[in-house]
């Protein structure tokens, strides 16, 4: 790694100098009588990791699903700084949405069954992403699947095992490989380590951290685990009952929480 790259990778979040990669404004969503999101706005800057915390049912996963265009809100605007897609992404048709999600956004779900084809091979799961993007050479598929699995620190001698035969940590690594195979501009992580034991959790977080450092990848990570957020995030957004109650730099939130709810959350943890 050259010095120039190194300094780029270690640069602090460029809150002041660069325009945000992701801008979400005024997103509201209600499911029947349940209000999942009330007027939520969020910005994510290139190369930054945004952590979203909150109790169960606070709307953090719904927000992430919106970011992955899996659901359309009742109101709201969502833009990514992509030259070919300048408008509100919620206005895209099904076809454009699918292409965008497949090629520009990667997602890792808490439940691997949502993100993986359990009966196909692990390398095939990664290859599927590349196939959607139009890759039709077997050698290239094989090579790029191997690269992506290697980058997510998956043991390559098991690359043709089916995810259902793998451990939870391995399944998350396959999901991660699938998510980064096309070098997306945005990586969404929905409780990526929940349900893993502490040592495996540390290893997966380690991989994520390394990826973030090496590729300066922009991430949004949702978790109810403050430890995970503290390890990963540059900036933190605290959600409660579908609203953002507080946001700021990670250290600021953890050292000096302002909102009552955040104070409770931080103290409960410590």
């Amino acid at each position: 790694m050259t010095l120039a790259q190194h300094s780029l990778a270690l640069r602090a979040p460029q809150l002041m100098t660069t325009p945000p990669l992701l801008t979400m404004t005024g997103v509201s969503r209600r499911y029947g009588d349940v209000v999942a999101l009330r007027d939520v706005s969020a910005t994510v800057y290139p190369g930054e990791v945004l952590g979203i915390v909150g109790e169960s049912g606070s709307g953090k996963s719904t927000l992430l699903r919106m970011m992955n265009l899996e659901d359309t809100p009742d109101a709201g605007d969502y833009r990514l700084a992509l030259p070919d897609l300048p408008g509100n992404l919620f206005d895209l048709d099904r076809f454009a949405r699918r292409m965008l999600c497949a090629t520009r956004i990667g997602i890792v779900y808490q439940n691997p069954h949502l993100g993986l084809l359990m009966k196909h091979t692990s390398s095939g799961n990664v290859a599927e992403r590349l196939l959607i993007a139009g890759e039709r050479s077997f050698a290239a598929l094989r090579g790029r699947a191997r690269e992506a699995l290697d980058a997510s620190e998956f043991p390559l001698d098991r690359m043709d095992a089916r995810p259902i035969e793998l451990s939870g940590g391995m399944q998350q690594r396959v999901q991660l490989a699938k998510a980064i195979a096309l070098e997306p501009v945005l990586l969404l992580l929905d409780e990526p380590t929940t349900g893993l034991d502490v040592s495996v959790q540390a290893l997966v977080l380690d991989t994520l951290k390394r990826l973030q450092r090496d590729r300066a990848i922009t991430m949004v990570i949702v978790s109810h685990d403050l430890g995970v957020i503290r390890t990963m995030a540059d900036r933190v957004m605290v959600m409660r009952r579908g609203r953002v109650v507080e946001q700021g730099l990670a250290d600021q939130i953890f050292q000096d929480p302002q909102h009552d709810y955040t104070q409770q959350l931080v103290h409960a943890k410590l």
Binding site: H120, G124, E128, L131, G134, S137, F138, A139, D160
Partner: protein, 303 residues
């Protein structure tokens, strides 16, 4: 005036077994299927005197197409004399007055399970294939509503996943039958359970092909002179079964699709899958008058 003069005399069934409205509905769907090659058209699959899974889809299309001057051939795994083929053929002739034949050259309508005859079909012939599972996306997308959406979006990337895993597992594409093929550059279809050997026969063929699944209530068509391209990787070419060098032990013909007959000594012999071609070759060798038409494969290669 009596009621008898105003009504038709009683008949056991209408012409061609199916009632007029059923045939009208099928014809509409068949025309639609021709208009959008390879696209699956839903239709109201009727009861016929045969269990689902035995070729009811093909039978309904054939019944709709038949007329008294038709000459009908039915094959099952290439053979005209299997019980299933013989019963369907005699049923067709009984309800329509059409003539039965074993000869591919003579037939005007051919209903088939598993094979396309080795002799080239002409523009005046119609091939009807019985399809067990019309949905090529089923192995990768169990939800049929989603699969239909994928067809609408031409979202076929996942089909290569099947081929990818076969190559990973076995070193080559193992898809023996129903090889997914792109029709007219738009819709991917399952060409019935025909072997890979028969898929190139559909490409730019002179004849019209209908594929119909009675249980699944779907029919689709390959009109004459339509592109049918098997899905392949850019660096792994499509290959038919390795039968080009095999010789039929009964007729002595070489270069056609063969059935393997296991022998008592652990070895195997081969015989032509297209039984009528074999019969004609044997008759020719015995000096009888049997004409073999031009075949799709010459010396084991497509011509």
């Amino acid at each position: 005036m009596t009621i008898a003069t105003l009504t038709k005399p009683w008949e056991a069934m209408s012409y061609g077994f199916l009632d007029a409205s059923a045939k009208r509905e099928l014809r509409r769907k068949m025309l639609k299927a021709i208009a959008v090659p390879g696209c699956q058209m839903p239709y109201a699959s009727r009861e016929v005197p045969m269990a689902r899974g035995w070729g009811t889809g093909g039978l309904q299309v054939t019944l709709t197409l038949l007329r008294p001057s038709s000459v009908v051939k039915v094959i099952d795994q290439g053979a005209d004399d299997s019980v299933n083929a013989a019963s369907i053929r005699s049923f067709l002739s009984k309800v329509s007055g059409a003539r039965e034949t074993w000869d591919t050259l003579e037939a005007t309508i051919l209903q088939s399970r598993h094979r396309i005859p080795e002799e080239r079909l002409r523009a005046d012939q119609v091939l009807v294939l019985q399809v067990p599972n019309p949905e090529p996306l089923r192995p990768v997308e169990p939800n049929m509503s989603v699969a239909r959406q994928m067809h609408a979006d031409a979202d076929y990337g996942r089909l290569w996943l099947i081929l990818y895993e076969q190559i990973v597992r076995s070193g080559r594409v193992m898809q023996g039958a129903a090889y997914p093929s792109l029709v007219n550059g738009r819709h991917v279809m399952t060409p019935s359970p025909i072997p890979r050997w028969d898929v190139p026969k559909l490409h730019m063929a002179q004849h019209l092909t209908f594929l119909s699944a009675g249980r699944e209530k779907r029919l689709y068509a390959v009109p004459p002179f339509t592109r049918v391209e098997p899905l392949v990787f850019s660096d792994v070419p499509f290959q038919v079964e390795d039968h080009a060098a095999l010789t039929c032990h009964r007729s002595g013909l070489t270069g056609y699709f063969m059935n393997e007959i296991p022998q008592g000594d652990g070895g195997s012999q081969f015989e032509l899958s297209d039984s009528n071609l074999g019969i004609k070759a044997i008759r020719q060798a015995e000096g009888a008058d049997a004409r073999i038409g031009p075949t799709w494969y010459e010396n084991g290669k497509t011509s």
